[in-house]
Subunit: 437 residues, 2 copies
């Protein structure tokens, strides 16, 4: 990871503490992904998250976690707002702040309407969710029943969110927007560039002169599933004067075709959008990734507009039978070779009539490696309407991560081919992480 902005906390709500509530967290049954999401959103606003506390469903423990936060702080709690008796966050917050809890008629009305619409009874559990600690306001839950709660209480600015991630997310967005009126910093001006096939070290070296030219900006980068994300932002208190736009333009130029997105969209969705915009189709032929490329291409709804299907030719015989790789090619070059990758890409394109054939064959490990083809050796081929692009990678990781890297490289290969107007012979920016052998 690159340099990080530790935040300054010079806004009224410039520092935050998170409290995650739930026995299932302390028992190790689930990971606290909510706090990650909340921290990410706050970081994007230039709010410094100072700490996260995870406690069980226990009134006293929730109170102690609140006691440990400084007066004036923003405290975001997740979990414990559900309908069952072990959901205690509402009561714990009220007890800590010494305020009463009472039924909120508008929340009750909202919940009654929700029950009626679903044909279920308004039971005791649902009624518990209409309880509101005095002094807090509420947010209607668009996904589930538990309302979000927010407001100033006990000298802190509180936001209470349900623990179910799909309910937490929309209420977090809504809650943060509402807290802007109380001084929560708006999202800092920032530029995000998402890159694929660039090593973190290469990216850092590329950024270095740009950072030196704009030291007042905050530069950071980190590995994600599809590559490396880079973020340049204006720290709180720094006046822009066009420097962010200038730095972003320089960064964009330096990274070139390696940038696949400048917003939080994933690489498979980018590829799907490029294909759909061109009314083009793709089919896959996978060996070591065994369906992961196809699965990624269908993650998002609407995939059937551009994804036809493919084959998983794991056994060598199926490379012949399902995707027409000549036996002689396999015998001469081995299954993990540019020749076979190219034949797989061409074969699946011919079989399916897709515009693009995308193929992966490699050695994910831990076994199967040799002196000339070590574990991680992976060939990726794209047949773009008859133009064949083939490239070799040496992924450095274990089986699972090597497969993931191969999926990212395959999708990005198709993206680059689509970007350069379908001409697979066009030059690419040579910034790839894992390089040719």
């Amino acid at each position: 990871m690159g340099s990080v902005n530790k935040g300054r906390g010079d806004s009224p709500l410039g520092e935050a503490w998170l409290v995650a509530v739930g026995d299932e967290l302390l028992l190790g049954r689930i990971a606290d992904t909510n706090s990650q999401e909340i921290a990410r959103q706050l970081t994007a606003r230039g709010v410094a998250v100072r700490g996260v506390t995870v406690v069980g469903d226990e009134v006293a423990a929730i109170g102690r976690a609140l006691d440990a936060t400084p007066s004036g702080a923003l405290v975001i709690l997740s979990g414990g707002l559900g309908p069952t008796p072990d959901d205690l966050t509402r009561e714990a917050v009220a007890a800590w702040a010494r305020v009463p809890v009472a039924e909120s008629p508008p929340i009750a009305a909202f919940l009654r309407q929700r029950c009626a619409a679903r044909g279920v009874a308004y039971g005791e559990g649902t009624a518990r969710q209409a309880q509101l600690p005095a002094g807090l306001d509420w947010l209607a839950n668009p996904v589930g029943s538990a309302p979000g709660l927010f407001g100033e209480l006990g000298g802190r600015m509180l936001l209470l969110l349900p623990g179910v991630p799909s309910e937490m997310r929309p209420l977090l967005a809504e809650g943060l927007a509402r807290l802007e009126a109380a001084g929560l910093p708006v999202a800092r001006p920032a530029v995000l560039l998402r890159t694929a096939q660039v090593a973190e070290s290469v990216l850092a070296a590329l950024c270095d002169p740009l950072r030196q030219a704009a030291p007042e900006l905050t530069w950071s980068w980190w590995l994600v599933r599809w590559g490396v994300d880079v973020r340049v932002s204006l720290p709180p208190g720094v006046v822009d004067g066009g420097r962010l736009a200038e730095a972003a333009a320089a960064l964009r130029a330096a990274l070139g075709v390696s940038v696949y997105a400048d917003a939080m969209i994933d690489l498979p969705a980018v590829v799907q959008d490029l294909l759909t915009a061109r009314a083009a189709t793709v089919a896959t032929a996978e060996s070591c990734t065994a369906g992961l490329v196809s699965a990624a291409l269908t993650d998002r709804a609407g995939a059937s507009d551009c994804f036809l299907g493919g084959v998983v030719a794991y056994a060598d015989r199926l490379k012949q039978d399902l995707v027409d790789v000549p036996a002689a090619l396999l015998a001469a070059h081995g299954a993990v070779s540019g020749e076979v990758a190219g034949a797989m890409a061409a074969g699946i394109r011919a079989r399916t009539g897709a515009d693009y054939g995308l193929a992966v064959t490699g050695i994910a490990g831990p076994a199967g490696g040799g002196a000339t083809k070590p574990v991680g050796t992976t060939w990726i081929a794209c047949d773009a309407r008859g133009h064949l692009h083939v490239r070799c990678y040496r992924f450095p990781a274990d089986r699972g991560r090597n497969r993931q890297l191969a999926v990212a490289a395959a999708l990005d290969t198709l993206r680059r081919v689509l970007r350069v107007d379908d001409d697979a012979r066009a030059p690419w920016a040579e910034l790839d992480t894992w390089s040719r052998p």
Copy 2:
């Protein structure tokens, strides 16, 4: 989730606090999965995890987190043991306990040897990892460089682990084993049964009479990727007298064929082992899961012994072209039908010569559903050497989760077919979650 054991804390180290260290956690770049893993291991020993604190790479914050733990507690810290200047956990712990830090000759020797073996220089960063706070002992890292540290300091029993999960895990196991001499409870006698295709509510109802017959035991269950796990354990202080074995036998009988494992092995690995033991092979034909079943079957090394490959027939035309589903069948019944699922399973088996053909066709959503075939409708078929087993599911969730449920159901279908000695006509325990339409 079912009833939980909040722990009793009557052993010397019967209660634990976790501290996760790292700016990347507070910035929301990664989730704190280490604390989940540590909490799970401690829970299995009957140790009650009382709280988790996440702090940044900052000496004072780490000290405050330690201050917040009670004297005599077990405190496990993860993160901040690496070679870079922002890895400060060693120094922070020493400063908090007011003990000096000095180079440990055995750690230095270990690290020098490690560098030599890899042909890299023993630099300043590596040397930092040889620094040991007075009073702590160390554990050699089998995966990376950062040693684990443990011992009594500042009135607490400490265990310091590196933050990289693949390094954390072996050092956690080793560290917990070493702490048994200091009174850490050994793993509680417990029985784990992993089930697939059983709804959590059905499972709870099945457990109910067994729990009433053995209330002194701790019963819990929770959703995982492949289904529901059930755990019955002997709480601290309860003498066994054969009651755990009795309850486990009754539970096993009640759950029947739904149990796919009684240890922490995943469903795809169980299927792989069953196939390999029978020297049998499988091939897949997937529509809505688009390669996820194939990918799961190849998660673990050794997959090529039993997995041949398959097709992803996403477009209906490919169901004809790649896996020989008759056009008339598609026209008469639609792509999401038992007839087409069966034809896909038979077709891929015929094409590949596999012993088993496994097929999935469904509507993952959010679009594509209708009155007779709502979103979530999914047919799974297994052609077992000519015996065809076909079943319909109605998964209740969103696109991503519906696909995941379909993968679990497909793998478990194959497992059940393999379990009942390859006779797909044999009766199954009818405990399925999502039921027939």
